[in-house]
Amino acid sequence: MNRKREKDEHIERLYYMKEEETDSMDILRSAMNENYDADIIDELLSGDMVELSEGENKIRLTKKGEDYARQLIRAHRLAERLLYDVLGGDYESGACEFEHTVTPELVDSICILLGHPRACPHGMPIPQGQCCRHSSRTAQSSVIPLVELEVGQSARVAYINCKSDQQLHKIDSLCIRPGAVVTLHQRYPTYVIECEGSNIAMDEEIVSNICVWREPQHFQSAGKETPA
């Protein structure tokens, strides 16, 4: 493993710990397992990426470290999204390598292509990039919110941004899930979509959180219900 990758892995782990609201050195050590390297921590300290407190028992990312980590995580989770949505399978192993080798520009392109997803397939938040803040839209954006379909058009669901697990379960129980084909029937007075043979009326807010593949060939090639 090269040095940069090892450093990155430590930084990523520290970011996860921040998400879980812990900053204990012990947890870092046990989570990194045999990959834990005290030298790397020293390097990170001198690079002003992390700071220690309470003797050396607590460790957390500095502002600089966190900015760097956010880019890594963003790339990692977007990669998962990409692999999961496009290939519909094992996303973890591929994505692990990904974030260490891409440029921020490439990451932004993927983000635009996927229509600025807000969560990875695990449901963890994807840190926003410049492109999300400007909600950049280019011609090649393949995934669009369901609201943008024409009435009567069908498309395959790519992924769903949910505000809560409750909502996710509700939507899932109606079979609106990645891979399912949905048809937009009506926009006004409220949205009506058809999925798996049943008609469902819903708020604009929910419809706009369902993202679908734009290209008709995607829909046709996946017409046999499920992705490979």
Binding site: A119, M124, K170, N199, A201, I206
Partner: protein, 655 residues
């Protein structure tokens, strides 16, 4: 709540010869119909979700063995979204039924199998009733029910429940109910986590695996339940464990588990269904789309209401009139010849006679109108037209501060206000609950009232009907907007509402339902008609009625511009709206109510005092104090609105 649950458990363990069958399934999959078919009893069925809001149970014999059969409200999956779903899960967890019959609408196999996955995990023997199999065949979808049975490991019985087809096979399958094949494994880290939590659960918790999974999914209701049963400490301990597992997994459990389950479902569906490549267009789908369409939807709604109105006026009123002239006139003359004028004659056929105001009012005036109206209304229910209204009216409800999920209860209010009040359980926000319960009780007429209102106003012509219902609609919207302003804002419930497929009505089902609705009317309402007549007779004889008419004179005659006989109607209204309607029809026939008075009285009685059952339902959902306050406010508003209406019609339009 937990106390009640425990008591139930003890009861059942005392004597358990009776096997329990729980009928479970997605909303609108025919659970109540299967319940009726199995038990020979009747609970109300309709082609839309939320018809059943409470658990209903009955005992019956199936193939010589006694069973208790339990009908339940709809359930999507064991992760709970709303309180009426919670009722079902609580029942399953606390009573541990010996068997589950899952009703599946063959049109929605995928959605249903998601629930099947959850139910199989419980390890309760199951039978699947695959319903509406005729419709899938028509749509060119073929379901291999044997294959399905093989893959799931439980008997699958095809049926067309509306016609009772498949009931015999279902009864036969009950003895063959089996625990299904549960082959769903997650990744190791999750499975290990589930086992770890399972081992931490208290000894007597049933369905440990499912409980563990639900804890991992952070089901909010389950934690409350465990806290009530086993104390804060145990729950905290469990939460610790859950958090540890969650941290190890470092992802979103809901997504991971749902993905796995979806793939399991997709596999099964792909292996058991075949779709025709070309299918005929379906006119029912076209109608469904038109009925929700912003442009065509409203004319369709108006046409539906107009047809109902014509039916009531031209058929029901004629029958009622005929009954009155042939049956009642001869009875009246008979009694007059037998009983000389005086106390007993008055008691029987006077203004407040048991026979005249009681029996004849119920059977000769109200019953014929209700019969015709119910047939029409039940056809509408079976078609599944009514829920589509929630799409059309969505924007109006937005203005009332109600998110979409409050629409269904309000729309259902046109069927039965009591049931509709109970369905507000499905709303999360207290504010929305309060507003919808209030609005249901206020200016929405229930089916019986709507029919009778049509009959009364129809005697004055279609314009009277249009005016009265426009006023009611306007008042309802104004009340909603006012409540929205007054009450504190809270979170809104998401609006996701499945719409039932439009179906051709089934003649037998409509007739059976009409029969039961009338039977309930006779059983519940007719005694009230009689008591009310006697009560009025008594207070009239001892002079209280006249005193009341004098006291209420300024309001009834002055403010409302109504004759003092309407005081009788208002008193009857408190007992039973139908009785008041019957009396008003009599007043019109005697020429004691004119055009304006007729409109004013109908608007007044529609808004005035919700029926007793509705008040009880309000008390159940809101608590006694708030419910009674609501009733008081409703009555005062009703009188004020009717007063203003009278003033506008007489003063401004010179009618």
């Amino acid at each position: 709540m937990s106390g009640k649950r425990k008591a139930k458990k003890d009861n059942s363990s005392g004597s358990r010869p009776l096997k329990r069958i729980a009928i479970v399934g997605l909303p609108n999959t025919g659970k109540s119909q299967v319940f009726n078919n199995l038990t020979g009893e009747y609970t109300l069925v309709a082609n839309y979700p939320l018809t059943t809001v409470e658990i209903k149970r009955t005992r019956c014999e199936i193939d010589g063995e006694p069973y208790e059969v339990i009908d339940t409200p709809g359930l999507h999956c064991l992760y709970i979204h709303s309180e009426e779903e919670l009722i079902v899960r609580d029942m399953i967890f606390s009573e541990k039924p010996d068997m589950i019959i899952q009703c599946i609408d063959a049109n929605q196999l995928k959605q249903s199998l998601t629930l099947t996955a959850d139910l199989l995990e419980l390890g309760i023997p199951m039978v699947i009733s695959l319903n509406a199999i005729d419709e899938t065949a028509r749509r060119g979808v073929w379901i291999d029910s044997d294959g399905l049975s093989r893959l799931l490991g439980v008997p699958v019985v095809e049926s067309i429940a509306v016609n009772g087809l498949g009931t015999r096979e279902l009864k036969g399958a009950i003895s063959k109910a089996r625990r299904g094949k549960w082959s769903l494994r997650y990744v190791d880290i999750i499975d290990d986590g589930i086992s770890a939590i399972e081992s931490e659960l208290p000894e007597d918790v049933s369905f440990k695996r499912k409980v563990a999974v639900l804890l991992l999914l952070a089901d909010p209701f389950l934690a409350d339940y465990l806290r009530a049963e086993y104390g804060q400490e145990k729950v905290a301990q469990l939460k610790n464990k859950v958090n540890r597992v969650r941290r190890q997994f470092r992802g979103n459990f809901s997504r991971a588990l749902n993905n796995k389950r979806s793939r399991w479902v997709d596999d099964i569906v792909n292996n058991t269904t075949r779709k025709q490549k070309i299918t005929p267009g379906e006119s029912s789908k076209v109608f469904a789309r038109l009925s929700r369409h912003p442009v065509f939807g409203i004319p369709i709604l108006l046409a539906v209401v107009f047809i109902m109105f014509l039916l009531v006026v031209n058929v029901a009123n004629v029958i009622a009139g005929w009954m009155d002239t042939t049956v009642w006139v001869s009875v009246e003359s008979k009694i007059n010849s037998l009983v000389p004028a005086g106390f007993w004659n008055d008691f029987l056929i006077g203004d407040y006679g048991v026979l005249s105001l009681g029996l004849a009012n119920a059977f000769l005036t109200v019953l014929p109108i209700l019969t015709v109206f119910f047939i029409a209304f039940n056809i509408l229910e079976d078609i599944g037209y009514i829920p589509n209204l929630c799409v059309l009216t969505k924007r109006i409800f937005d203005k009332l501060g109600l998110s979409g999920s409050a629409i269904m209860p309000l729309v259902l209010g046109f069927g039965c206000k009591t049931m509709a009040t109970l369905t507000t359980k499905s709303l999360r926000s207290k504010k929305e609950r309060y507003i919808s319960i209030y609005l249901i009780a206020f200016a929405i007429p229930c089916a019986a009232q709507l029919g009778l209102n049509m009959s009364i106003l129809g005697r004055m012509g279609i314009m009277a009907f249009v005016v009265a219902f426009s006023v009611l609609g306007f008042v309802e919207i104004a009340a909603g907007m006012a409540l929205n302003k007054i009450l504190r804002e809270e979170g809104r419930t998401d609006f996701i509402q499945e719409l039932p497929a439009i179906r051709l009505p089934n003649a037998k089902a409509v007739m059976v339902k009409t029969y039961y609705r009338l039977r309930w009317f006779i059983k519940e309402a007719v005694p009230v008609f009689l008591y009310a007549a006697v009560a009025l007779f008594v207070i009239d004889k001892i002079g209280i009625l006249d005193a009341m008419k004098n006291i209420l004179g300024p309001i009834v005659n002055g403010l409302l511009g109504l004759p003092s006989q309407m005081v009788d109607a208002l008193i009857l209204c408190m007992a039973r709206h139908e009785a008041a309607a019957g009396l008003m029809i009599k007043l019109i026939e005697k020429g004691q109510l004119n055009y304006v008075q007729c409109i004013v009285s109908v608007t007044l009685t529609t808004m005035f005092v919700p029926c007793f059952a509705n008040i009880m339902a309000m008390i159940k959902e809101l608590g006694t104090r708030r419910a009674l306050t609501a009733v008081l406010i409703i009555n005062c508003t009703a009188i004020m609105v009717a007063g203003i209406l009278n003033w506008v019609l007489v003063g401004l339009f010179n009618l």
